[in-house]
């Protein structure tokens, strides 16, 4: 186990309901640190290479993140079956993820019940803020872990139990590096920047901006007081992702938040109409890539 920052063993991950203070720890099924119950079997490609000499070589041809990917697809199916829209929000610490969520909940412009999964290494402070804003929330403390993974979200979703037709906003651990790599089963990924950060963050951390479909530039009410070139920031971000959508918002004043709500609702109606179509046709699952463009905004 890495003592500086590395990701936790499952029993270090804690799930806290801020209403009751009740918390639980991941049991052996949550993650796969040599977990003997991790019954995931892959197509058996193995064959011997006689020419290799003494050892027996087995071809695995397996994605390293296959287990996370499988858990993410399971989450996606679970969410689709309930017509629940899940969005993964990522940023560096302090960009304003929680403030944006609080404002989104308080403004009540999104016509669906909002639930929140809060990811932090420690404390239930953010979950408290979300609860005060009026939304059901579950805090996931990752311990030393630097990102949420699909198993944590799976367990979190089941505890949070979002009703049919609701929305789950997942606030990932504040980190512009690791969370980019882990599919949680969300429909869309959003990266949040704030004008108090360097405008070149998109090219310093290009993987994150490459992995997201929307960038929110937050704290625009502070633009008169800081040296931040919005256009340059957007140009940098589009170097990493030419399809990236950008919205300028202030969670403090509410400026620009309507466009964010319209974007969320656009995705929401896509999620609903797809599930309805699936039910009518009685066919397979939703497109797991979740690539459909929302109609709103």
């Amino acid at each position: 186990m890495c003592t500086t920052c590395g990701c936790s063993a499952p029993d270090q991950v804690a799930y806290t309901d801020p209403r009751t203070g009740a918390h639980s720890h991941g049991d052996g099924h949550i993650h796969t640190h040599g977990d003997p119950h991790g019954h995931l079997h892959f197509p058996d490609h193995h064959h011997d290479h006689a020419a290799d000499g003494c050892g027996r070589t087995i071809a695995l041809e397996q994605d390293i993140l296959a287990k996370n990917q499988l858990a993410a697809e399971r989450n996606r199916g679970w969410l689709a079956g309930r017509e629940v829209l899940a969005i993964n929000l990522m940023s560096s610490p302090g960009a304003g993820k929680t403030s944006i969520l609080e404002r989104t909940i308080r403004d009540r412009q999104v016509a669906a019940p909002i639930h929140v999964l809060e990811g932090d290494q420690a404390t239930a402070n953010d979950a408290e803020r979300i609860r005060s804003a009026g939304a059901p929330v579950l805090q996931i403390n990752t311990g030393t872990g630097c990102h949420l993974d699909a198993d944590m979200v799976s367990r979190g979703l089941r505890q949070l139990d979002p009703g049919r037709g609701s929305m789950v906003l997942i606030e990932n651990v504040g980190n512009l590096v690791c969370p980019a790599l882990f599919d949680l089963g969300e429909r869309a990924r959003v990266v949040i920047m704030s004008v108090t950060e360097g405008e070149d963050k998109p090219i310093k951390y290009p993987h994150m901006f490459h992995a997201c479909e929307l960038m929110l530039i937050n704290k625009i009410d502070l633009l008169p007081y800081v040296r931040f070139d919005v256009e340059r920031c957007i140009a940098y971000a589009r170097q990493a992702n030419s399809d990236l959508r950008v919205l300028r918002v202030s969670a403090e004043t509410g400026e620009g938040m309507d466009a964010w709500y319209a974007w969320l609702l656009g995705h929401f109606s896509v999620a609903k109409s797809r599930e309805n179509a699936r039910r009518r046709n009685g066919t397979g699952t939703l497109d797991p890539s979740g690539q459909a463009a929302p109609s709103g905004a």
Binding site: M1, G6, D35, R56, L60, I64, K67, C146, C178, H207
Partner: protein, 109 residues
Amino acid sequence: MHELSIADAVVAACAERASGSRVIRVRLEIGALAAVAADAVRFCFDVCARETPVEGAELEIVEIPGRAVCRDCEGTVALSMPLGRCACGSSNLRIVAGEELRVKEMELA
């Protein structure tokens, strides 16, 4: 430091398929655009492999260079990060190689 999760997944995948045998070599493919530092994986691998059938195995990492195709002129662009510009000036690129993150094979004793 997600490399610990990566190394852990590699060890788990190999141990599961080793059927009780000892693993002496593991070969990975890591793309230059996969956001994974090979050295960090190497460091974590030994830690994660402790007390598993993978303990002591040699880790071989094949790094795959990043490559994109320009959506505007169809030209090929070499990338070391998931951003760049084609010779034609466009940054509208489609990554075609370098995002690999695979356990290719392992050798059993």
